[in-house]
Every structure is written in structure tokens, then in C-alpha cells.
């Protein structure tokens, strides 16, 4: 079935699959956003427990999606994996450190004799949700602003900036994308909590959470606008489809959006959905905003990745040596591997189906204060 597809089609298919996994990750970082709201929304201990236990049933899903994103990029675009992870060493190391400390924090935070104390584990969660997501945003920003690497004829990467990837965080564009992601994750986090927690008897807590949704949208908007306006006016890294030569093209990303109307529709529909999620949560008192916000975030994510990778564009461009830039065509695995992996990818709908089913079962009853304070409390996070 897949073996008959030509290499180009498989490369495009895998860019779509990787973009989908990446975009699902951008939705699932509502967990990280929620983590940064812990101190702000959870005034009493029981409120904090509700937040932690609600997020605690999902954190592994986000974590696993990140791991899959890494694995899928490795399998489909190994040159990107080698160039970016090996080159932008520090930015990836710092991101990973924030996920290492996250992974123990839910389990260890409330356990007696936990050595570092409750506050430190909460700080770990905050750092993961703020610094971690900001740096991920900055790293994704380099898909448009470019990085500082040179590949030799054996594709051995040399990074030309001593900050090894951290320099990405000093670009206003990358920083804007990072901050937008942080605030977007926070508004998604608040909408998820509204959907997942039974606030009966905790109306103040609910009001604070509801307010956080709108406030975080307002905080996100300036960064989103800066990102979008810059994106459509900036020069982009175009590739000549015949020669493979990379050159700077003015208005490249605007041209990409205009020549791929579906991508433009994804972007606009995504933004509208996120805003509608916030509106319906903040002004209509609904608790289902997370679904609009989530779907919207996935669509925006897809639009960002598609703009970076399709329409003869270098998705991981090099500022230091234009011709070292990576495209989905020169960075991919072989036809055989892409074919084999495409069969494996048939499992993705199966995985999605059981994840959704289990999620539905587990969330059918909202999490209550009685649950986190009752006799089973010692089994909770």
C-alpha cells in the first residue's frame, strides 16, 4: 500500500504526521499551563490538591506525546534530529531538565519524607510550565528565523554560536512565540480545570479559574499578534524545487499561506476556535471551552508546521550557511524506512481511540473535593 507511494509523497505524509503529533503536544501542554496556575488559583490546600490531581491524571499523556514527537522526528527526519539536538545542545538540554523534574513532582510532592519539600516540587512544576514551554516555543520559532549551523559533506554538524541554541531565546520573534505558547497553555489549563473539577462549595476558586482564562488570552494576544505580523512580513527560506538551492525570499511565509489556502483556513479557524473557547467560558459560563481551545490549538499548530515545511520551504534553515538548511526532502529517512513507518503509523488511530475511551471513562465523573480529602486521600497526588 505505502510502498507504491513515491518518496516525495511519503516525505510529505511524514511531515503531516509529525506536525499532527507536535500539534497535539501543543494542545496537551494544558497540563504545563495548569501547573503554572497552581499557586495563583489554588489558595487553599484542597484547591491545590484538586488542581494537582486533575492535571496529574493527564501529565503522562503530554509527556509521552513529547517522547513520541522526538521518536517520530528521529525515524522520519533523522538529519533534523541529529542537527537540531546535537547542535542546539543547550536549549534542548534545558527543556529536558524541566521535564525530568516534572516527572517526579506529581508523585513525590505530597509523599511524607520527600526530602525537597512540597514547595520545591511545586516550583519544579512551575519551571516546567514556564521555562520549558517558553524554550520549546523559541525552538519552534527557529523554523522561521533560522539557526547557526553548518553541515559538512558527511552531514556532520558544527554550531557556530557558542550559546548552542539558547541564542534562539534572544530573538523577539522566537520569544513571542514562546510567550504566546506559555499563555495559551495557561488558558487551556484553566479551561481544562473548569471542565474536570466539581467546584461545588468552591465558587471563589471557580471564579478565579474562569477569570484566568480571559486574563491569559489577553496576555497571549500581543505576542500572538507580534508573531503573526512578523511572520507575514518577514523574509523566508525558500527552496528552488529543481536545484534544491536555498535562498531568502521576501514575504515567503505570507506567500505560503496564500498558496496553501487550507493552511490559512487552519490558522484562522484555529484562532477563532481558541477565542470562542475563551468567550464561551468567560462570558457564557460554559465548561466545555477546552474542546474548542484544544482543537483550535491543534489547527494553529498544524498551520505553523505546514507553513514552515511545505511549499518549497526549508523547515530548519541555517542562517550561518544557507545551503546547509534542512528541507523535508533532504532531511528525511529512506523510502524503505518511511514506508515501514507508515504501516506502523496505522496504529495511531487505534492509540487515539483507546486514549479517548479511557479518558472518557475516567472523566465521566468530575473530580471532587471529597475525593482528594476523604479516606482515599493518601492514594492521591
Amino acid at each position: 500500500m505505502f510502498g507504491n507511494l513515491d518518496t516525495t509523497t511519503l516525505q510529505q505524509l511524514w511531515w503531516i504526521i509529525d506536525s499532527l503529533v507536535g500539534s497535539l503536544f501543543l494542545f496537551l501542554i494544558f497540563v504545563q499551563g495548569g501547573q503554572t496556575l497552581l499557586w495563583q488559583l489554588g489558595k487553599a490546600n484542597v484547591e491545590k490538591s484538586l488542581i494537582i490531581n486533575s492535571l496529574g491524571r493527564k501529565w503522562e499523556m503530554t509527556f509521552t506525546t513529547l517522547v513520541l514527537f522526538g521518536g517520530a522526528l528521529f525515524a522520519a527526519f533523522p538529519k533534523f534530529y541529529a542537527t537540531s539536538f546535537g547542535g542546539a545542545y543547550w536549549v534542548w538540554m534545558l527543556i529536558l531538565f524541566t521535564f525530568i523534574v516534572q516527572a517526579v513532582s506529581y508523585e513525590f510532592r505530597k509523599k511524607p519524607n520527600n526530602f525537597l519539600g512540597e514547595k520545591v516540587y511545586e516550583l519544579f512544576l512551575f519551571i516546567n510550565g514556564s521555562v520549558g514551554i517558553l524554550l520549546i516555543g523559541a525552538a519552534v520559532g527557529t523554523f522561521f528565523t533560522g539557526s547557526n549551523f553548518v553541515l559538512n559533506e558527511y552531514n556532520f554538524v558544527t554550531w557556530t554560536n557558542p550559546l548552542r541554541g539558547l541564542e534562539a531565546a534572544f530573538s523577539l520573534f522566537n520569544l513571542s512565540l514562546g510567550l504566546f505558547l506559555v499563555f495559551n497553555a495557561r488558558l487551556l489549563g484553566a479551561m481544562y480545570l473548569l471542565n474536570n473539577i466539581d467546584f461545588t462549595g468552591y465558587e471563589d476558586f471557580e471564579a478565579r479559574t474562569r477569570k484566568a482564562v480571559l486574563v491569559n488570552l489577553l496576555c497571549a494576544l500581543p505576542f500572538l499578534l507580534y508573531f503573526l505580523i512578523s511572520l507575514v512580513v518577514m523574509d523566508g527560506f525558500g527552496v528552488d524545487p529543481k536545484t534544491g538551492i536555498v535562498s531568502m525570499v521576501s514575504g515567503k511565509y505570507l506567500a505560503n499561506l496564500l498558496s496553501m489556502p487550507l493552511v490559512l483556513i487552519f490558522l484562522l479557524a484555529g484562532l477563532v476556535l481558541v477565542i470562542w473557547g475563551v468567550v464561551t467560558t468567560s462570558f457564557r459560563g460554559k465548561n466545555n471551552g477546552i474542546w474548542f481551545g484544544g482543537l483550535g490549538t491543534v489547527l494553529v499548530g498544524l498551520a505553523v508546521f505546514f507553513t514552515a515545511g511545505f511549499n518549497n520551504t526549508a523547515f530548519y534553515p541555517s542562517k550561518a550557511a544557507l545551503q546547509s538548511s534542512l528541507t523535508i526532502y533532504n532531511a528525511s529517512s529512506s523510502h524503505y524506512t518511511l514506508t515501514a513507518m507508515s504501516y506502523v503509523a496505522l496504529l495511531i488511530p487505534v492509540v487515539l481511540a483507546y486514549v479517548v475511551y479511557v479518558w472518557y471513562l475516567m472523566d465521566a465523573k468530575k473530580i471532587t473535593a471529597a475525593e482528594v480529602t476523604g479516606e482515599q486521600a493518601d492514594e492521591m497526588y
Binding site: L66, G87, T158, W159, T337
Partner: protein
């Protein structure tokens, strides 16, 4: 290919990988084994309806959860470290190596992550049967994760199902099934997971023995011991069987590793197996010193294990380094010569191709193809570089085997006295039981050393030395992250141990 090799950087990168992998390997075997033991407890609860078993399952689940969290924390870095510290490796073999890692994510990690939440928080939210199903899914998911990473690791030990593409200068996959069902991958998977089952059983025995010595939670401890001793004993047999298979594969596919962990410098027919011995650490390949200061050998056994024939020839380190014409073994010295030709011709091929000289490219490619099998050796400078650190690998192997022989005896003793109903009075056995988990941990770590240090200097056996597999980083950069990992992992380990001890002290009451 790489103009200047910074050996210090390579060694720091190796140290960092060893550190992160060995820390991760403290927690993973317990996840592999304890997940099944918990599934057994819960199955008995569902079958009998006896709430005591539910309490037991929940108690072990608490300890499982604490261990699982730190296992996840120490695991994420490993996947990305291939890229960060071994980027040339990621490029050169990513076409093959990336696939199992992606499959691991799709087919295994999501099982674990999804059903983990049900296992811990679903008691009141889903039916009893669905809960049991979830517990089994966590166990199966954990072990499937091990499958895919070990398929990847098996390929590093025995690279098959691929070909080198001179145009892209990388290895490309040609046969997915050959990689998945490689005998080395299969024996890696079965040996590693069964040793995890064994370790999980030792963990249960250790803590239960401590309770019995203290006279606490006696019923729970006895029931736990019964299940763990049966599971542990069965696993021990499986470990021995798969271990034998692994050693046979080493002999066939990685003879240098076998020679190193047996301290065998001079190959011989009817070779004996070292049962115990002190290796001469100043011995170098090719000199006249004895390999051992003291040794006890079991005659013919090494030949039998290595080739299934007691009279067969087992090559020693010297044969593999300098060759042995009589036995038709090409030495690393000869392979290096051919490898240098391959490296040189590959460069000529690329140069000719770039210049549009198709005749030149063709000529270079022909010579390259004649020597490409030895390409990896072209990056070595002296044949002695092909030898892994013998003493370390030798001791690691022999400690692992000695401990592996001890464990079934412990399980049999536990089973015997538990069935007799007198286990609580066997203070001597319970004292051994309390330390048995730490012996298991030592055996686990030794196993990792045998497999990974025994493969040195190669990242991919015979194809890609670690010096070429590296990222272009300074030693200082890797040193910094190394110490960051030491600090963070040690802090988390201390926290984990303290939490675990506290939970053990609290015990299963109220579960």
C-alpha cells in the same frame, strides 16, 4: 570525516550516557517485574474476592508508582541524548535506529501512560474487570517498551537488515523484519525482561522479609513471598536459558566481547570456562604476561557454550586483534588496512561526484565496495583499539553470573519454607532475603556493563566507533551537563529512597 577527534569529549559523552543509562536502569527492572507481580495480586483478588489481596496489590502499587515516576524522569533524557551527544550516530544510522524508538512511543508508551492513570485513580471510576485489564496493560506496555529499545540496542550489537549508501554517507534500512527478529534482539529482550521479573521478585522478597523479621504485616508478607518466590524461581530458569542464548550470540556475532568477558587472550580448542579468577589487569594483548593471577576453569565448557561443541575453537583477543591464519580469522590489523582504503575511496567518490567526474566516481565506488565491510575499522588507528576494557567486562560478567546462580537457590529456600509454613522462623534466610534486592541490583548493573562496555570501542559493532558517532561539542560542555545530571539524579534518588522507606515503614494498613 571528523578532522580532529577530541577524545576527552568522547569519554565525557560516554560517561554521561553511562551515568544516565545506569541511573535509569536502577528503576526499570523493578517496573518490568513488579508490574506483573501486582497484576498477579489483583487477578487473585478478582478471582477470590478476598479483599486482603486487594490491599496487598494496592500496597505494592504505591511503591510501584514512586519507582515508576523516577523511571520516567530518568528515561526521557536517553531518547534525546542520541541526538544531543551522538548526533553523527543519529545521522549515520537514524534511518534504522529511529524507527524502533518511534514504534516504542506509538505501541508501548501510550499503553503505559493511559492505563497508569486508571490503575492508580480508577478504583472507584471503572469496573473491577476494567481495572484489572488496565493493570495488565501497564505491565504489558512496560515490557513492550523494553522490546523496542532492545530491538534498537540489539541492532547496535549485531547490525543487519541494512546497507551503506555512499551518496548520503549513511546506513539505510533494507529489512525491518530482519532487524525486529534478529536473534540478538530476541535474546536481548527475553534476557532483559526476565531479569526484570527476577528483580521484581527480589524486591518483594526483600521488603516482605524485613516485615517478617520485624514481626509486622505477617499475613501480607507471607502471601507476597509466596507469589514472588514462584515468579522469581520461574524467572530464574528463564534468565539462565536466555543468558545462555545471549552468550552464544556473543560468541557468534561479537567474539571480541565474549573473549573480553572471559579474559581469553589466546584462542584455543576445547576452551574452558573461568568459574572464578583474578585477572591480571596489567596484561596487554600481545605481551607474554599471564592473563590471570589465579583462576579455576571448567574444561571444555566455554567451547560448548560458545559453539555448542566442546572441542571447537574459541578465538581469543589476540586472534581477533592480530589474526589467526590457521583458524581463518582476519585480525583488526588487516581490517584497519581495508577500512582505511574504504574511507579514502569514499572521500574520492564524493569528490569526483561533486566535480562531475563520473568515471572517477565509478572507479572509487568499485574499490570502496570491495572494502566497505571494514569501513568502521578505517577510523581506528591501531588494532589494539578494537579491544574493550577487559578487566571491567570480565568482572561484571562473572559477578552477574555468580549472582544469577545464587538467586534460584534463594527462591527455592523461600518457597520451601513458605509451603512448610515456617518461613517466619528462618531468621538466617530472611536476613539474606533483606539484602537480596541489592544483589539483584548489582547483577542488573553488571549486565548493562557487559552488554555496553563489552561493545566498545564501537557504537555500532564493527561499523561505527564512538569517536565518530559523537556530536561536535567541547569537553567542557559535556562535563557541565554530566555534573548537572549527577546532581539532579542524585537528589531525585535520595528523595525516592526516603519516600520509599517511609511508605514501607507505614506499610499496607489502610490500603
Amino acid at each position: 570525516m571528523v578532522d580532529q577527534i577530541d577524545l576527552t569529549m568522547v569519554n565525557w559523552a560516554r560517561a554521561q550516557f553511562a551515568l544516565t543509562a545506569m541511573y535509569h536502569w536502577i528503576f526499570v527492572p523493578l517496573t518490568l517485574g513488579l508490574s506483573f507481580i501486582i497484576a498477579f495480586f489483583e487477578s487473585i483478588y478478582i478471582k477470590t474476592g478476598n479483599k486482603e489481596w486487594k490491599k496487598i496489590a494496592k500496597f505494592w502499587m504505591t511503591l510501584f508508582g514512586i519507582n515508576f515516576a523516577i523511571g520516567v524522569a530518568t528515561g526521557i533524557i536517553l531518547e534525546f541524548e542520541f541526538g544531543t551527544n551522538w548526533s553523527n550516530y543519529s545521522w549515520m544510522v537514524g534511518d534504522i535506529f529511529g524507527a524502533p524508538l518511534a514504534v516504542e512511543g506509538i505501541a508501548a508508551f501510550f499503553l503505559e501512560a493511559t492505563f497508569f492513570a486508571v490503575m492508580f485513580f480508577g478504583w472507584e471510576r471503572v469496573s473491577k474487570k476494567f481495572h484489572l485489564f488496565s493493570t495488565w496493560m501497564v505491565a504489558i506496555g512496560s515490557n513492550l517498551s523494553a522490546l523496542w529499545i532492545l530491538v534498537a540496542n540489539g541492532w547496535m550489537q549485531y547490525p543487519i537488515g541494512m546497507a551503506f549508501n555512499p551518496d548520503t554517507a549513511r546506513f539505510e534500512m533494507q529489512d525491518f523484519w530482519a532487524i525486529l527478529f534478529s536473534p540478538v534482539a530476541i535474546s536481548k529482550f527475553t534476557h532483559t525482561t526476565s531479569s526484570g521479573f527476577l528483580f521484581g521478585s527480589l524486591f518483594v522478597i526483600t521488603i516482605s522479609s524485613w516485615y517478617l523479621l520485624k514481626g509486622r504485616h505477617i499475613q501480607m508478607a507471607r502471601k507476597s513471598i509466596l507469589v514472588a518466590a514462584v515468579f522469581g524461581l520461574l524467572s530464574s530458569g528463564y534468565v539462565a536459558f536466555t543468558g545462555d542464548e545471549a552468550a552464544y550470540n556473543d560468541a557468534q556475532k561479537q567474539p571480541m566481547k565474549l573473549a573480553a568477558f572471559e579474559g581469553l587472550y589466546d584462542g584455543e580448542k576445547g576452551a574452558g570456562l573461568v568459574a572464578a579468577g583474578i585477572i591480571n589487569s596489567s596484561k596487554k594483548v600481545g605481551d607474554d604476561q599471564d592473563a590471570f593471577l589465579f583462576e579455576i576453569r571448567i574444561p571444555w565448557l566455554l567451547s560448548l557454550l560458545a559453539n555448542r561443541d566442546p572441542g571447537s575453537f574459541v578465538p581469543g583477543i589476540k586472534d581477533l586483534v592480530y589474526g589467526n591464519e590457521k583458524e581463518n580469522i582476519m585480525g583488526a590489523d588487516e581490517k584497519i588496512k581495508k577500512g582505511k582504503i574504504a574511507v579514502e575511496q569514499l572521500a574520492l567518490y564524493k569528490k569526483a561526484k561533486k566535480a562531475g567526474d563520473s568515471a572517477g566516481a565509478e572507479a572509487a565506488l568499485t574499490v570502496f565496495n570491495q572494502n566497505k565491510e571494514y569501513l568502521g575499522f578505517g577510523y581506528l588507528n591501531a588494532p589494539e583499539e578494537a579491544v574493550p576494557p577487559v578487566s571491567l567486562v570480565y568482572y561484571a560478567f562473572h559477578i552477574m553470573v555468580a549472582l544469577g546462580s545464587l538467586f534460584p537457590i534463594i527462591f527455592i529456600a523461600y518457597l520451601f519454607f513458605t509451603l512448610k509454613g515456617t518461613i517466619i522462623h528462618q531468621k538466617w534466610l530472611l536476613s539474606i532475603g533483606v539484602v537480596s534486592m541489592f544483589l539483584g541490583l548489582a547483577a542488573q548493573q553488571c549486565g548493562w556493563i557487559v552488554a555496553e562496555v563489552g561493545r566498545q570501542p564501537w557504537a555500532i559493532q564493527d561499523l561505527l566507533p564512538v569517536t565518530i558517532a559523537r556530536t561536535n561539542l567541547t569537553a567542557g560542555t559535556v562535563q557541565t551537563t554530566f555534573f548537572m545530571f549527577v546532581a539532579i539524579f542524585t537528589l531525585l534518588l535520595i528523595a525516592e529512597i526516603r519516600i520509599m522507606l517511609k511508605q514501607i515503614q507505614i506499610g499496607p494498613e489502610g490500603k
